[in-house]
Symmetry: C2
């Protein structure tokens, strides 16, 4: 059986997508809530529809076998999975397609490709699963380069070594989530890092973008799982020492985690693993009010119980995802352990939540429905864009003291921007994806009725207003989606200017010609 | 009552020190174990004994009130609390005393002092409590500077703001541990960070050196408590955004945490706090064999229970500290919570430890004895050095798979070095200070009989051998003592060379004239 290709225009594999029933439910919701009326939907593009610029780069013979200028490959490496990218995909705009897609099979290949790129004056965009929703992988690099190379790392896909005693493994950066978990399963180990993109994103991508996993508290961020890194840069290869902890100067790993392909290419990492959980406890609870739910979540987050799930989803977001009828905010509470039953932990957390007004639901079906909707969400964009619906998500983090005002201001600014941009009300919803003792990570979704063929400007207006509200309110421009090209204006306001200058100086050492993912994190140098 | 001065030649306040009974016990132990025989001890130096070079710097009138060249001040800012520093103190060698001790009362003062230092071509050594044991605060800066200024930050000693909802506070960098805790107590909050130096070290010092707290697992490192930072550099002031979490590029805080005064002066930080624990559970257990104990510790560390204490102390170290007669290794196990009884957690941990051969001791008296000894340890040096005893500690971290071989190699290398340097056997002991799921932080102590007036060379030989064994065995040259000047040769081997170059480039941005703590972390520039 032939392997199915990844869609170049949407999520996942060719032939996959929303089931008819899922699609019907979604549009029924849009009819009711934002006044959607059926339109003839644009079909997804075909390779033959798209005119690509002739490749501007010619790999040397020694690297030719790793390189492709085949149109489907170039199209599949032009974009991530953001809303504005989907708009351009359906508009057949692939003007920034990479000239070459390179697929290294080894770290040596990566080094050779970086050398060639330096010599050729080409920009290099490290590419994992291509699931960026922030413009992190588009070869939009300005006029300073003679061409662009998308460096697809999925050939570096092996678990190289497992240390059962320390529960750690040395793993190549290009491995996809399911392959990584499959390789660890025989040893009853798991990385237990499940971002929404899990099926179609890579370990190296998670590290480069400071990925947040599915779990709500404690060990969920990829940052905390990295024991050491191997990174190939144009200046050479860098390997950090494998250690459970160290106080020897600023952490080298922490400079590279979140570097978004702008400082080097993550080829290998030692990762901290966990035993596979066998004990579970869980419940679903209802709140009339999102902010009341937030107070309950805070109590649990500050109690030292460390639930695996503590997801608060507002009523409207529940409704949008078919979880309930929009009559209550849902709190999904869950505990997992590989060592001991979690009933005592669960009982105390339930007590705290109920003390704060949470109503225990008779069963966990709402939690199950949420989970299913969550996994299927990335497919929604494939039907929203061609139907003329503007829908996107953005996320942040804020301390508890500012949450209520911040949540109100961001919701209001986004709602108002939708009205201004589209001439009618839309829908803005919120959930918490991660919760810390000192504050939550609110995740917002919005839905607005646009006009086919004119989605970009209203989206830009809404995104701009939401980002401004986040930065003005003291939040972070991203909690786990990364910066990419889309968040640069706000990232530059968020980070201290002197840190930006220090980071640029570090880049000049590791990537002297500035060929790695230009325009991401470090603004292009003048002149 | 006049405030007691801090000793310039030892630990803590003038008039404090080991009680006669403590001292008798320690020397009894040395008689038995390393063949110590009574000698006439050198007395501690007096200010009048010491010839200081005339100050080479003259502060401008605008800063004169913040500056002192008074001899006791200069002496008290010449050294930290390391063994070789104590040797030089008792030898009356204060050749690197700072020319000026500056005591800013505000962030503005810090800026003004850095400006003056830049203009004057002076090096600046940020100084908190001066508890460095790695040569972190000695103004040993080479010949490139016209003088040295010790920047004593203890005037920045206030808790500025408390956010009860998020459990966080904005605190100045120069506050001492007890003052910080006293200021938080009325709100029932605690930073719950208790390094051994707690009484005589500062928040800014903890952050600059990646301090490890007393607790064994989870939230114990200062790194994890930092929500945001304010740092004054010669290039300007930098403030990171206060956030519970962020995925916006590499963490700015993590570049500054562990920067040991070489990148900037930490004037303020928002810190994550905790509720004051009210529930406690604890036990003391015995193991015949340290490595068997280590396996029990590993089981608990990997179970997701997060004990506040999980300290394994080898038999000889128990004996050295009067905890037991040296017949067993001690495991101190404890849990704390502000929210719920910990008996279920404790029961499961006990079960794991007993499954691994731990014998429950009838009471917690050994744990209590250990705790008392731990707090008093820093005073030992004051009597060891003048009696001609070479005694020091060093610490590291290593993954579990390598622990047994690593522990054996480091113990053997240190024992052998003692024999070679002193001509007779000494004593090397080990405990775990912190424990991670992927490995422990072993902490070694050694004791050897030296000759009064000739302690430096044998110490250097032993320290060198131990550091070589740590680096060769894959450990870190420091887990929480920091790098300072003493660890530079091994730090430079441990850190990737390209990271070192990137860090130097970052320093060149933040501290263009290289005046901040020269020689620490970033080697002095050639020329």
């Amino acid at each position: 059986m032939a392997e199915r290709r990844w869609k170049f225009w949407g999520w996942g594999l060719e032939g996959s997508g929303l089931a008819p029933a899922e699609e019907r439910r979604l549009f029924e919701f849009y009819r009711e809530r934002i006044g959607f009326r059926d339109v003839e939907r644009r079909p997804p593009p075909q390779v033959a529809d798209i005119a690509l610029r002739a490749p501007r780069l010619q790999p040397p013979a020694s690297l030719a076998a790793l390189c492709s200028a085949e149109p489907h490959q170039r199209l599949a490496h032009t974009y991530g999975k953001s809303f504005p990218e989907a708009v351009r995909i359906f508009a057949h705009d692939f003007s920034n397609a990479p000239d070459v897609v390179a697929q290294p099979g080894s770290e040596q290949d990566v080094g050779g490709l970086l050398e060639w790129a330096t010599d050729a004056g080409a920009a290099v965009i490290p590419f994992g699963g291509g699931s960026s929703v922030v413009g992190g992988v588009e070869p939009e690099v300005g006029e300073d380069f003679r061409g662009t190379i998308s460096l697809d790392l999925r050939g570096l896909d092996r678990v190289l070594e497992v240390d059962r005693a320390s529960r750690a493994a040395r793993i190549q950066g290009g491995i996809l989530g399911p392959d990584l978990e499959a390789a660890l399963r025989p040893q009853d180990l798991t990385l237990r890092h499940f971002p929404q993109s899990f099926e179609f994103s890579t370990l190296g991508g998670w590290i480069a973008t400071r990925s947040g996993g599915h779990f709500a508290t404690l060990y969920t961020h990829i940052d905390d799982f990295v024991e050491s890194l191997r990174v190939v840069t144009p200046a050479g290869t860098l390997e950090t020492r494998r250690l459970p902890g160290s106080g020897a100067g600023p952490s080298p790993d922490r400079l590279l985690i979140g570097s978004e392909g702008a400082l080097g290419v993550i080829t290998e990492a030692w990762l901290r693993l966990q035993d596979r959980p066998t004990f579970r406890a869980g419940a679903a609870l209802a709140f009339d009010d999102f902010i009341a739910g937030a107070k309950a979540v805070r109590a649990v987050a500050q109690a030292g119980l460390y639930p695996s799930n503590l997801r608060l989803v507002d009523a409207e977001e529940c409704r949008a995802n078919g979880v309930n009828d929009g009559s209550y905010a849902l709190l999904v509470l869950a505990f997992e352990s590989a060592d001991h039953p979690m009933d005592v932990w669960q009982a105390r957390a339930l007590e705290l939540v109920q003390d704060h007004g949470g109503r225990l639901l008779p069963d966990a079906s709402a939690a199950e429905a949420w989970r299913t909707a969550f996994i299927r969400m990335p497919y929604n964009r494939e039907v929203q864009v061609p139907a003329g619906i503007i829908a996107d998500t953005f996320e942040t983090a804020i301390t508890w003291d500012r949450l209520e005002a911040f949540h109100g201001a961001v919701m209001a600014a986004t709602e108002q921007a939708i009205r201004k941009a589209t001439g009618r009300p839309g829908l803005v919803t919120c959930r918490f994806t991660h919760v810390y003792p000192d504050g939550p990570a609110p995740y917002f979704s919005f839905h607005a009725l646009g006009r086919q063929g004119a989605l970009m400007e209203p989206w830009r207006h809404i995104k701009h207003a939401a980002s401004e509200a986040i930065i003005a309110g003291g939040g972070t421009i991203t909690h786990h989606h990364a910066v990419g090209r889309d968040h640069m204006p706000w990232y530059e306001r968020q980070r201290p200017a002197l840190f930006g200058a220090a980071l640029a100086a570090a880049k000049a050492v590791l990537d002297p010609a500035g060929i790695l993912n230009p325009g991401v994190l470090i603004p292009a140098r003048a002149g």
